[in-house]
């Protein structure tokens, strides 16, 4: 088998990214949409860490920052979800349309 190069890792990251994008675009449940966003962020992290092997440790430091920001964003997003769920008892994105004309 061919030795594992950087491109192998980038292809895996691209596959995870595409799966995350499909999840965001197709699912109705808000929690699963947020989890797909986490998938996207993880694909980006894998990309960063794979490239850090070529270009130095900056990729790994940036990956740590991405993980930290993903935590903050997940907390805020889920807070919004809970606040909205209290008003209207639904978790489907296409039913969260109070501002629609």
């Amino acid at each position: 088998m061919a030795p594992i190069t950087t491109i192998h890792y980038l292809v895996v990251a691209a596959a995870l990214f595409v799966l995350g994008v499909i999840g965001v675009l197709t699912r109705r449940n808000v929690v699963i949409v947020l989890m797909s966003v986490e998938l996207i962020l993880n694909a980006v992290n894998l990309n960063l860490v794979a490239f850090s092997r070529i270009w130095g440790l900056h990729g790994q430091v940036f990956a740590i920052f991405v993980i930290t920001d993903a935590a903050a964003e997940a907390a805020v997003g889920l807070g919004i979800l809970i606040a909205f769920f209290r008003n209207k008892e639904t978790v489907n994105v296409d039913e969260i349309d109070l501002l629609k004309w």
Partner: protein
Amino acid sequence: MEPVATTFFFYLLSGLAILSGVLVITRKNPVHSALALILTLLCLAGLYLMLYAPFVAGVQIILYVGGIMVLFLFVIMLVNLERSQKEKQFNQQWVPGILAAVALGALFVTIYIKGDALFVRPEMRFPEAENTQQVGQMLYSNYMFPFEIASLLLLVAIIGAVVMAKKRI
């Protein structure tokens, strides 16, 4: 020296990661999706270890799996609706969505294959014993400002999440 079973573990971990990724976006029950996402995150931590990034792997396990996924499971338990599992799971534009995403993926892979000459080989080999020390030094010298901003960001996120989830402000 290349570790012995790199190829085997790479294919195992990445295959498992992609398989659980598919499970994340297709399961009806959000708890099963969350479990599949946990499996994906753990496989990615293994991949980081293979990329000579043990500190990032440790941070991934502590923060992502031990923190963010616990938060997700809490919220799923709080908003769990039995009837939401019997409704439609996919919205009306699922076909264009999948097509667009696959086109994006094809674009990525085309770029990688065409730009193959730009990747430096062989890759650097970091001495694994000093990864934490070097990341720490970089974090406190080059990236000092983003480090402090990240702590401020976390403070804002905590306050925001608490205020939004309170019953009465």
